[in-house]
């Protein structure tokens, strides 16, 4: 009996101590809340969101566009690619993204680069939710147009004309784009980017960051 009580006390102290340590020093609560409970791996829910490429002004959570987007928007449209480490869909889309932009990036890191594509500068930003700063990861909820709350997610931010003001204008796509082949997915992403570039060219003359 004494042996069992000793084991009980040891395990109790060990588990409660480890939990305390995880809460205090590793921010585990926020990590699970933001990266597991609030953001789904779309392949894990066994579903593909249907994507409607439609540019809109209103952000998904009604918050302002983040600074890193506005700063880069002066150079050209942005393409933001949201991923996670454990994400089957991201593994399917990674090579397609690399192919479209002709770049290479480590899937486990935050990466950004301005590339020249389709005769325009376009800023590519890869945000792995498990390894990126919180300003970047929280932007997923700003651009989650269809309120899917999952990765992979692709966002094109460009410029649009709205009642005499040129403003950031964006669209989002999800998962494997509800398409079956490598070429179809590549073409869909290219179309999305080309639309963004076209809109940017039409409206860039009127864009002022302070009017955002």
């Amino acid at each position: 009996m004494k042996k069992i009580i000793a084991i009980q006390i040891t395990i109790f102290v060990l588990t409660s101590g480890t939990l305390m340590g995880l809460f205090l020093y590793h921010n585990i609560y926020d990590e699970v809340q933001l990266k597991i409970v609030s953001v789904l791996c779309l392949s894990c829910i066994k579903l593909n969101p249907k994507t409607h490429i439609q540019f809109i002004f209103q952000t998904a959570n009604h918050k302002a566009h983040p600074d890193f987007v506005l700063e880069n928007l002066t150079k050209g449209p942005l393409f933001i690619y949201y991923t996670q480490d454990a994400c089957h869909g991201c593994e399917i889309m990674d090579p397609i993204i690399k192919d479209v932009f002709n770049i290479n990036f480590d899937k486990k890191s935050f990466f950004y680069k301005t590339v020249f594509l389709y005769n325009s500068n376009i800023t590519f930003i890869h945000i792995n939710l498990d390894h990126s700063p919180s300003e970047m990861t929280n932007s997923l909820f700003i651009y989650d147009k269809d309120h899917v709350g999952g990765v992979p997610m692709f966002v094109v931010v460009t410029l649009g004309y709205d009642f005499d003001v040129v403003k950031p204008y964006y669209t989002s796509a999800y998962g494997t784009l509800d398409l079956d082949t490598y070429e179809e997915r590549k073409e869909a992403l290219a179309d999305m980017i080309l639309d963004g570039i076209e809109l940017y060219k039409q409206n860039q003359a009127g864009f002022r960051i302070e009017e955002r």
């Binding site: 395990i11 585990i28 609560y29 392949s43 066994k46 579903l47 593909n48």
Partner: protein
């Protein structure tokens, strides 16, 4: 009877609590039982999903492995597998299907035989294989996760998402395998009482060893037992109650306590 009502109340309360995501609450905790964070109403993370992210393709992230294990360990050392019997929403579902399973067991001899076959004891080890093989092993080596075909994820995540957002999603390659597994899951719980808990639940596999050392457990006073077997007859986990001593399969539901005519079975705390 009072114990039965207490347990039902706790199960309903726990299920409602697990679904507070309905009103927008999303916490950073992990459930100590099996429930999917893909459920639109989920309030916390699935312990298995969190472990899978911690081991995915051999990239070990120790805090994601430790966190659910410590939550389960913390609760397990106090209550053992009572979580399965008193808190788990899937346990509540199996409580609802248990009546059908009992009726079928009495009506059809072959179903009764399934529960009494000599391999039945060994089948209970399947859940440990699932935990180590499919939750940890294949996820760490191949990147194929239990989550991809999880019947609980399908029933509490995929199906509600499809119902709440009609026309917004299409099925991916894992949808139909998961659907078939979910149908088998329903057949299992309709034919074998607590079939999921007995044979397949990986969270049950994590909690089960704690029954050996938990503070709360069920105690049978063997010196006063007359061997009437009424306790074993009502046990949803099919345990030989008079001969059990801190059995890992016991979910501490207390049905045996209520069934015993001589009050030789009781909840004990040490």
């Amino acid at each position: 009877m009072i114990l039965k009502i207490k347990r039902l109340t706790t199960q309903i309360f726990s299920t409602l609590l697990a679904n507070l995501g309905n009103i927008g609450i999303k916490t950073g905790f992990c459930y100590p039982f099996f429930y999917c964070h893909a459920c639109p109403a989920a309030i916390a993370g699935c312990p298995l999903g969190t472990i899978e992210r911690g081991v995915y393709r051999g990239n070990f992230r120790w805090r994601l492995i430790l966190y659910p294990l410590m939550i389960i360990g913390f609760i397990g050392i106090i209550y053992g597998r009572a979580v399965c019997g008193w808190m788990c929403p899937i346990g509540l579902l199996q409580r609802a299907t248990g009546g059908v399973a009992r009726k079928l067991r009495h009506q059809y001899a072959f179903i009764k035989k399934i529960g009494q076959h000599k391999i039945e004891k060994h089948l209970r080890y399947t859940k440990y294989l699932l935990l180590t093989g499919l939750v940890v092993g294949t996820t760490a080596i191949l990147g194929f996760m239990f989550t991809d075909i999880c019947p609980i994820g399908f029933l509490t995540g995929s199906v509600p998402i499809l119902i709440l957002s009609p026309g917004k999603f299409t099925e991916n390659i894992f949808f139909y395998p998961a659907m078939i597994i979910s149908i088998l899951f329903i057949i299992l719980i309709l034919t074998v009482e607590r079939g999921w808990c007995r044979y397949l639940c990986p969270v049950g596999a994590m909690l089960a060893p704690f029954n050996r050392i938990s503070v709360f457990h069920i105690f049978v006073d063997k010196s006063r037992c007359i061997g009437c077997q009424r306790c074993s007859d009502v046990c949803p986990m099919g345990i030989d109650v008079p001969n059990m001593e801190r059995d890992p399969e016991c979910i501490l539901c207390g049905k045996c306590i209520e069934a015993c005519p001589y009050n030789v079975i009781e909840f004990k705390r040490n």
